[in-house]
Point group: C2
Chain length 346, copies 2
């Protein structure tokens, strides 16, 4: 049925190693060695082959190659749930790193199902990927994948629960810490937190970091921060901040669990008749442009460096494939971007 296609497309037009060898006046064996930079080839032959290959714009058939090599120059990127905005910068960073090394990326998404994740992994392994990058949906630790022992796996965002695996996650404890440090440096002392969902490690880690930083300065978070977990949205921020200001009118800064929450907090602060940042400073997490720049004043926020995280994880995967194996949970630094909501210019 597709006989025609077969002739025209695949067979006829493609130039093969044999063509190159013929043009260079050598055997396919030497042509192969020359192209792959192997030893035992005279400079003369090597040049002839390279020239011929260039002239014919030869690209080796990756399938024939894969049939004879351990590696396929393909890696698998397995996302838990593509429908998640945190995944995009991570993908971007990873794609960047892989692309630089001329690795191809097979994308597979688990649509937030453990069963489907296993199937997708099998599919990737069937394609003989050299390694797999597992991109989580949250930073909550997740059970390790059941890959083949000779196929390295690196986890990003959601770390593996197995410490023998290699995982990359943003340093959420540091994030909480630098949010507080920034506020303290700006002269704030009555600092409270309006957190995200307590089922998220990110929320708990940030709280821990914030509390530790306060303690370092001989301070304490206002209210009972262990109780201020809620949802990841504006309306929770509004509601919690309203309650907070009523109970503790002297609060002079709020660390919000996310930029989204921060927007709600800012609304509530304003509605209480207080000014931002004069009376109350606000800091968020994620540094999400759309929220941060839409806020008035612009929102100070902690950037989780997700693109860098993706790139680092990808590079580590490449290293693992090359035999330089690392283990453990890497917590990648984050950085605070100061803006008007905490008294910086802009």
């Amino acid at each position: 049925m597709d006989d025609d296609d077969h002739r025209t497309g695949a067979t006829a037009e493609t130039t093969t190693l044999a063509d190159v060898a013929r043009a260079a006046g050598v055997s396919v064996a030497t042509a192969s060695k020359a192209l792959n930079g192997r030893a035992h080839v005279s400079a003369r032959s090597r040049e002839a082959v390279l020239a011929a290959a260039a002239a014919l714009s030869f690209t080796p058939n990756p399938f024939a190659r894969a049939l004879n090599r351990a590696s396929t120059n393909t890696i698998g990127m397995l996302t838990s749930d593509l429908d998640n905005r945190f995944v995009l910068p991570i993908l971007l960073g990873a794609e960047d790193a892989f692309g630089a090394g001329s690795l191809s990326v097979l994308l597979a998404d688990a649509r937030d199902s453990a069963l489907r994740e296993q199937l997708q992994l099998q599919s990737l392994l069937t394609r003989r990927v050299d390694g797999v990058l597992v991109v989580g949906r949250t930073t909550n630790p997740r059970p390790p994948m059941q890959a083949k022992p000779d196929v390295p796996v690196v986890y990003v965002y959601a770390p593996s629960t197995d410490e023998q695996d290699l995982s990359f996650e943003p340093d959420n404890e540091l994030a909480g810490r630098i949010a507080v440090e920034h506020l303290v440096a700006a002269g704030r002392r009555r600092i409270a937190i309006v957190n995200g969902e307590d089922t998220y490690a990110a929320a708990r880690d940030r709280l821990r970091g914030a509390a530790a930083a306060m303690e370092d300065h001989g301070l304490e978070l206002v209210g009972n921060p262990g109780l201020v977990f809620g949802a990841w949205d504006e309306s929770w921020g509004r509601q919690a901040a309203g309650r907070l200001l009523a109970a503790h009118p002297d609060v002079d800064a709020v660390v919000a669990g996310s930029d989204h929450i921060a927007r709600g907090v800012m609304d509530a602060v304003r509605e209480s008749g207080r000014r931002i940042p004069d009376d109350v400073a606000v800091v968020g997490f994620d540094n999400w442009d759309i929220l941060v720049e839409g806020a008035r004043p612009h929102l100070t926020s902690v950037d989780m460096n997700l693109q860098e995280l993706g790139r680092l994880a990808a590079e580590a995967l490449v290293e693992s494939i090359e035999g330089r194996v690392r283990r453990g949970r890497i917590r990648n630094p984050v950085r605070l971007v100061a803006r008007g909501s905490s008294g910086a210019d802009s």
Copy 2:
């Protein structure tokens, strides 16, 4: 250097067609035919082979297969710029469609560079993808890719300028139209538009649709809509709406070029002392949850159905690969989601 890996991983453990054939007591030729559902195999042999394959959990080596077939069961997804939130739902829809057909997806990103796009395409073609899905960054028409004639290409979001190509885009004109229809149905007559950047086809198309719908009702957009292009952000929305309300105090509805712009518009409307939706109704585009649900009242918005768009494009690509070729620009329907900002409940 990786001799060990080679032995352990690739060679030793993998079960091959020969193993299956042996277990089934047939030749590899019949085993192959049976597994591929070809004719000229007795029911008896077929069953034996299938059973053996299952017992040995045989998965055919995709590279050996690709060496003998025209197709590789791999498609390329070439994004213009992954760093773009519109791309995510499209990817998701496409991945869904491809995954269902057991096609693998190679992801390549052009990082918004035409040169890099060409290189990535070459890389995909070298991998012998069966087809390529080109995902644009805007809905502005773009020059066609220089692919090989036997490798189908389908464009999503950004259509190809070549009408002989197959492209899928959201119907932006319809989007403008239904925004107006909705407002008119809600009793509004003095409707104005605060648009996005005029370099975007999406902005121009929506305006055209909105104007046409007004005309259908014997109405006209308030102000000079041709002049109300600006930026895709909140502050432009705020500024333009402020100006608009000053010049035309009787405006009773605003169509905003995006949800983001709409948020700015809503702020300005409120600041002018008007109520939403009582005095002024507002409609946005994109139906972006985070903006739409963060607004007070919730923002009525036109959903561009991007996930569906991705799925449709992917399915069309599969059809093209199978020989059922379509051409032209498909404008996919969009839908309005009514919320509080235009008087609906919630």
